[in-house]
C-alpha cells in the first residue's frame, strides 16, 4: 500500500514539475502561478566558494512574483528563449504531513534570436509540494544554482 502510494505521488509530481518548467519556458507566468500554492515562496540560492557563504540572489513570495511579472514589459530583457530540461530525481515525504520534498536537477539552455543555443545554467530545484488538497501545487521552490556566471543575467525566475 505504501509503495503504491509513493508510486502515485511520484506520478502526480512529474507533470507538476514538468508543467511548471514548460510554463516558464513559454513565458506564461500566469500558467506558472497556476502550479503554485498561495502562499508560495521562491528563492534562488547559490554557494559562493569565494566568500564561503550561501547567497540568495532572488527571493519572492507569490505577491512579489506577481509584481515582478507585471513589471517585465517595462524592462530591457535578455532576448530569445529559455529551455529547461528538468528531471524529477527523488520524491520524499517531508516532515510536515501531506507535503513532499521533490528534488529535480535541471539544465537551462538559452536560444538567441539568431537561433544559436548555449547552456545558461545548471542546478537543482528543491520543491515542497502540497498534496493535501486535490490540486497538487508547489508551496516553495529553492533553486540551487551551480552556475554562478550567468552572463547578462535574467529578469525572470530560473
Amino acid at each position: 500500500m505504501n509503495d503504491l502510494k509513493r508510486l502515485l505521488e511520484r506520478e502526480a509530481v512529474r507533470p507538476l514539475i514538468g508543467g511548471a518548467g514548460l510554463a516558464l519556458d513559454d513565458g506564461d507566468f500566469a500558467r506558472f502561478l497556476g502550479y503554485c500554492d498561495d502562499p508560495f515562496n521562491y528563492r534562488i540560492r547559490v554557494w559562493s566558494p569565494d566568500l564561503k557563504k550561501d547567497m540568495t540572489w532572488l527571493e519572492h513570495d507569490r505577491e512579489g512574483l506577481i509584481e515582478l511579472f507585471k513589471s517585465l514589459p517595462e524592462h530591457l530583457q535578455r532576448q530569445g528563449r529559455l529551455h529547461r530540461q528538468v528531471t524529477v530525481a527523488t520524491v520524499e515525504p517531508s516532515n510536515v504531513d501531506g507535503f513532499l520534498v521533490v528534488t529535480s536537477p535541471f539544465v537551462v539552455h538559452h536560444t538567441n534570436l539568431e537561433g544559436q543555443t548555449h547552456t545558461l545554467a545548471v542546478g537543482r530545484y528543491i520543491d515542497i509540494v502540497n498534496m493535501i488538497d486535490e490540486k497538487i501545487v508547489l508551496t516553495a521552490r529553492d533553486v540551487m544554482l551551480d552556475t554562478r556566471d550567468l552572463g547578462i543575467g535574467l529578469h525572470v525566475p530560473i
Partner: protein, 400 residues
C-alpha cells in the same frame, strides 16, 4: 532631414576635443595592449574587501591585468599581495578562490612560501648552486594598501602612493565604509562580450537612467535635475557630489524600501551616491546597501566583471536579509538594473566591433548637474594622458 551619408557618418564629430570618443578605443589590439601596459600595470586598483580576509593567513585570489594574484593577511595582520606564481618554474600556487594558507606549497616540486612571501622550503636544496636558495627565491610582492576597508594593489613600484592616487574621491564614502565594519555578503562574476570601458561607462553615464524602468520611475523625477551635484577628481575619478534621491514609491514593488533596516552610516534610505574610480571600479550606495564592482579586461572584447554587495558585519539575520533584499532589487544577476546595464554594454560592443559605430558622443554639458557627461570626459582625459593616445583619434595616421 534624412539619414546620414557615409561621409557624414564617418566624419570626425564637430565637437570640442574630449566630447566624443572613437569606437577604435574598444576594439584596436594595440590600444588594448597600451591600456594593459600603461593603465592596468601602473595604476592602483581595487582588489577585494578587507572583510574577505578576516583572519591571519586568509587569502583571496584576484584577477588583474591577465595575472592571478594572491591577497593574503599575514600573521602580523598586514594584507600583502603576491603574484600567484612559483619562483621555481612558474607553477600556479593557489587555485581555490579563497581560503586559509599558513604555508603556500607549490604542487609541482613542493617549494613552500609563507604569508610574508618568503620562500621557506626547497626540497633537496643541495642540488642547486648558491644562486638558488630560499633567501633569494621569495614570491613577487606587489604594493598593497587598505583604505576604508578596501584593499588596493599596484603592479608598478613607482606609482604615487594610494592616497595621492585616490585624492578626495572616497571622501563621501569615508563615514559609510570607514566607521562601521562592513562585510561582503554578495559576490558574483560575469564575463561579458564587450570592452572593459563599455561596462565602466554604464557606471559613469547618468543619462542612461532613461534605459532602466526602475530609475525612470524612482530617480529621474525624484529631485530637480539642476539640484543634482556631480563631481570630477584628479586622476580620472568622478561621482556624485552630494546625494541624489530615489523615490521608491514610484516602482510598486520597491515601495517602503528601507523601512526594515537601518541605513548605512552617514546616509539615508533614499540617498543614492556613487564614485567611479579610475580605471574600472565603481562604488554605489543606495541607502541601506552598497555595491562595489570591478571590471578586469580579458581581451579587447572580453571583460570580467566582479560584483560585491556589502552589509554591516555582525548584524542580525533579519537586517541582513533586508539588506540582501534591497541589494537584489537593483543588483546581482537577477536584479532589475544590472542585467539591463550588461545588455547595454554588449549591445554597444556589437556596433563598434566591426566599425559600424564610429564615434560615441559624450557631450552633455550641464555644469556638473543633472545628467552631465563630465565624469566620462574626466575618465577619458586620464585615459588619454596614460596611453598617450587621443580618445577621439587613438590611431594617429601619422604613426600608424
Amino acid at each position: 532631414m534624412s539619414a546620414r551619408s557615409e561621409s557624414s557618418w564617418e566624419k570626425v564629430p564637430r565637437l570640442p576635443a574630449g566630447h566624443f570618443v572613437s569606437g577604435l578605443v574598444y576594439t584596436d589590439p594595440d590600444v588594448y595592449q597600451d591600456e594593459i601596459d600603461n593603465i592596468f600595470s601602473k595604476a592602483w586598483r581595487f582588489a577585494c574587501h578587507e572583510s574577505e580576509l578576516p583572519e591571519p593567513f586568509d587569502y583571496r585570489l584576484v584577477d588583474h591585468a591577465g595575472q592571478s594574484l594572491i591577497c593574503i593577511r599575514g600573521e602580523d595582520d598586514e594584507v600583502r599581495t603576491f603574484l600567484n606564481v612559483c619562483s621555481h618554474r612558474g607553477g600556479k600556487l593557489l587555485t581555490e578562490p579563497s581560503g586559509n594558507a599558513r604555508l603556500i606549497t607549490c604542487f609541482y616540486h613542493r617549494w613552500t612560501y609563507d604569508s610574508l612571501g618568503a620562500c621557506t622550503g626547497i626540497p633537496r636544496p643541495s642540488g642547486y648552486s648558491k644562486e638558488v636558495a630560499k633567501d633569494s627565491m621569495g614570491l613577487r610582492g606587489l604594493r598593497t594598501a587598505v583604505k576604508h576597508g578596501l584593499v588596493f594593489i599596484a603592479l608598478d613600484e613607482g606609482a604615487p602612493d594610494l592616497d595621492t592616487f585616490i585624492g578626495l574621491a572616497l571622501d563621501q564614502f569615508s563615514e559609510m565604509l570607514g566607521t562601521t565594519l562592513l562585510e561582503v555578503f554578495h559576490y558574483n562574476r560575469a564575463v561579458l562580450d564587450c570592452n572593459w570601458k563599455a561596462w565602466h561607462e554604464t557606471n559613469m553615464d547618468l543619462y542612461h537612467e532613461f534605459m532602466h524602468a526602475v530609475l525612470r520611475q524612482t530617480q529621474v523625477g525624484a529631485m530637480p535635475m539642476e539640484d543634482r551635484r556631480l563631481i570630477t577628481f584628479e586622476n580620472g575619478h568622478g561621482g556624485s557630489g552630494g546625494d541624489l534621491k530615489a523615490a521608491y514609491d514610484g516602482y510598486k514593488s520597491f515601495a517602503g524600501r528601507g523601512g526594515d533596516v537601518p541605513p548605512l552610516p552617514g546616509t539615508d534610505p533614499t540617498d543614492f551616491r556613487f564614485v567611479d574610480l579610475f580605471p574600472s571600479t565603481a562604488i554605489i550606495a543606495r541607502g541601506t546597501v552598497v555595491r562595489i564592482d570591478t571590471a578586469t579586461p580579458l581581451g579587447p572584447d572580453k571583460t570580467l566583471l566582479e560584483m560585491r554587495g556589502l552589509g554591516v558585519k555582525g548584524e542580525s539575520q533579519e537586517h541582513r536579509q533586508a539588506r540582501q533584499r534591497h541589494h537584489n532589487q537593483y543588483w546581482g544577476p537577477f536584479g532589475r538594473n544590472v542585467p539591463e546595464d550588461m545588455i547595454a554594454a554588449e549591445a554597444c560592443a556589437d556596433s563598434f566591433r566591426n566599425q559600424a559605430g564610429r564615434y560615441q558622443i559624450i557631450a552633455r554639458d550641464e555644469n556638473l548637474t543633472g545628467q552631465d557627461d563630465a565624469i566620462l570626459r574626466a575618465f577619458y582625459k586620464e585615459w588619454g594622458d596614460r596611453t598617450g593616445r587621443d580618445p577621439g583619434n587613438p590611431i594617429d595616421p601619422a604613426t600608424a
